[in-house]
């Protein structure tokens, strides 16, 4: 067990999901390595959030399987944590109690440490309603971290934040990911956010993976020419300006 890597390995095989007549995901195959940071981009309604909810066990697939560390995902898993689009803090619990929610009956220290990680250790005794949007989302991040997750799923958690707070949050997420080595899947419609954070960007269009790109930039990432190159490349594919063959494409620059 000691040899086991902390970040989960995720294998998705032949995964399809259908709501009534609408095919949201069509035979998705995807492997995510231990500790990898994946970004899934796509237009709204392309099925990227559904994929994330399937991985979290919040929905059941119509067909196909998801394996987390060689075990089939059947329902909600306690090693997997989800960061929602909204902060979803319980307004009737103080900040610290909100962080403690997933470490129920456990050490208060863990929760305090998690709050410290996101820089809010002095706000533990306040009600969530007095915090700003960015602070609330940081508390939500602390809540996810307090469970010491092996897989962290981000469903556009930064979508509602202003541009500056957003960049701060991206840096914070990157820092915590580097420190804690969990596997991450970030769903976003913001291509530049995907390039800034991910090892690999996956583009989903109409329920299918149409692009799978390694981002070979060093960390911390600068928004330089190479960055723009990746961003442009993915964005063009999103806008369907170019048709390139499907498959892993390692761009050498």
């Amino acid at each position: 067990m000691g040899e086991e890597k902390k970040g989960s390995k995720l294998v998705i095989k032949d995964l399809s999901k259908q709501f009534d007549d609408k095919k949201v995901l069509k035979k998705i195959d995807l492997t995510i390595e231990h500790g990898e940071f994946i970004a899934i981009v796509g237009r709204s309604g392309c099925g990227k959030s559904t994929l994330l909810r399937l991985v979290a066990g919040l929905e059941q697939p119509t067909s196909g399987d998801i394996f987390l560390n060689d075990e089939k995902v059947k329902s909600i898993n306690c090693d997997t944590r989800f960061l929602f689009q909204e902060d979803r803090l319980l307004p009737w619990k103080k900040v610290l109690e909100n962080v403690q929610i997933c470490t129920l009956n456990k050490d208060k220290e863990i929760a305090i440490n998690a709050l410290r990680e996101v820089g809010l250790e002095d706000r533990g005794t306040e009600w969530p309603s007095v915090l700003s949007g960015g602070q609330k989302q940081r508390v939500a991040l602390a809540r996810a971290l307090a469970g010491n997750p092996r897989l962290l799923l981000f469903d556009e958690p930064l979508g509602a934040l202003d541009a500056l707070t957003r960049i701060e949050m991206q840096q914070l997420i990157e820092k915590l990911w580097l420190e804690q080595q969990f596997t991450s899947i970030l769903v976003t419609h913001d291509v530049s956010e995907a390039v800034a954070l991910a090892d690999r960007v996956i583009l989903i269009d109409e329920g299918e993976i149409v692009m799978d790109t390694q981002i070979t930039l060093d960390r911390p990432r600068e928004r330089d020419n190479d960055f723009v190159y990746f961003e442009k490349r993915i964005l063009e594919r999103v806008m369907k300006k170019t048709k390139e063959p499907l498959g892993k494409a390692d761009f050498s620059i």
Partner: protein, 260 residues
């Protein structure tokens, strides 16, 4: 300056009641309003002191409060439990809700003749009537409170490992509490109303009995005194409910200013 503002704020709500009492005293003592129609405030105070000294007043207040509270606990408790059950389980809701809604549409005071025939004029009749009156506001508000909890919070709870009982205590109860407390306040109003009616119709003790008995002997001062006591008891219970709201809902932005 701050303390002056404080005293002004405290004093403003009292201005109108004080003026009314002064006008009342003046109008009655000069005979503009005959004392057979309306007694002097002083007479009411004297009646209060007399009844207080004889011990009747406190005994009657005790009897009435006991009726009110026991009816509230029985009816409110059943309402709360059924509201919770029907709010959480759609199966139970299908089974029970339409029946409850049917009964709700009967004014509970219309059942007085039936209740008297069934239970006589004793304590049971009053308990049944008050329970019935208190049941519906608590049932409806509890049910509504649970149904209006943000389903995204429940989903969050599940993702973060809350199950059944912990989900109930950490998400469902606090989430429906604002609505439940509205139900409590509303039920308290109905509780006093039903008590007054029940005691006026048939009783051998309590404040309603005091008033009806005084009517027999044309004791206007005692009648007015009973009405005032009802008002005070109603106000007292509402203040307690308000206090409860402030204590339990500190997190709620609407209640935050008042707690400071």
């Amino acid at each position: 300056m701050k303390t002056r503002r404080f005293w002004i704020d405290k004093f403003i709500p009292l201005i109108i009641p004080i003026l009314i009492i002064l006008a009342w005293q003046v109008l009655t003592s000069y005979g503009i309003i005959p004392s057979t129609i309306f007694p002097q405030p002083i007479k009411v105070v004297i009646a209060f002191l007399d009844l207080y000294k004889s011990g009747d007043l406190m005994r009657y207040i005790g009897v009435s409060s006991k009726r009110a509270i026991s009816g509230f606990i029985v009816g409110g408790g059943i309402g709360l439990i059924l509201g919770l059950v029907n709010g959480i389980s759609t199966t139970f809701e299908k089974l029970l809700d339409s029946t409850i809604q049917m009964i709700r549409n009967i004014p509970h005071l219309a059942l007085i003749p039936l209740v008297i025939l069934w239970f006589g004029i004793g304590e049971e009749a009053k308990l049944v009537l008050i329970s019935l009156g208190v049941f519906f506001p608590l049932y409806l508000n509890t049910y509504h409170g649970i149904r209006s909890i943000d389903p995204r919070l429940i989903e969050m709870g599940k993702v973060y490992g809350l199950k059944n009982i912990s989900l109930f205590w950490n998400v469902i109860i606090p989430g429906s509490l604002p609505s439940i407390l509205v139900g409590v306040r509303y039920a308290l109003g109905i509780m006093w109303l039903t008590l007054i009616v029940a005691e006026t119709v048939a009783a051998d003790s309590g404040i309603g009995y005091l008033a009806m008995n005084a009517r027999e002997f044309m004791q206007m001062d005692v009648i007015v005194l009973s009405i005032i006591i009802y008002a005070l008891l109603g106000k007292l219970s509402d203040s307690i409910a308000k206090l409860l709201e402030r204590r339990c809902l500190q997190w709620h932005p609407n209640f935050k200013k008042t707690t400071k």
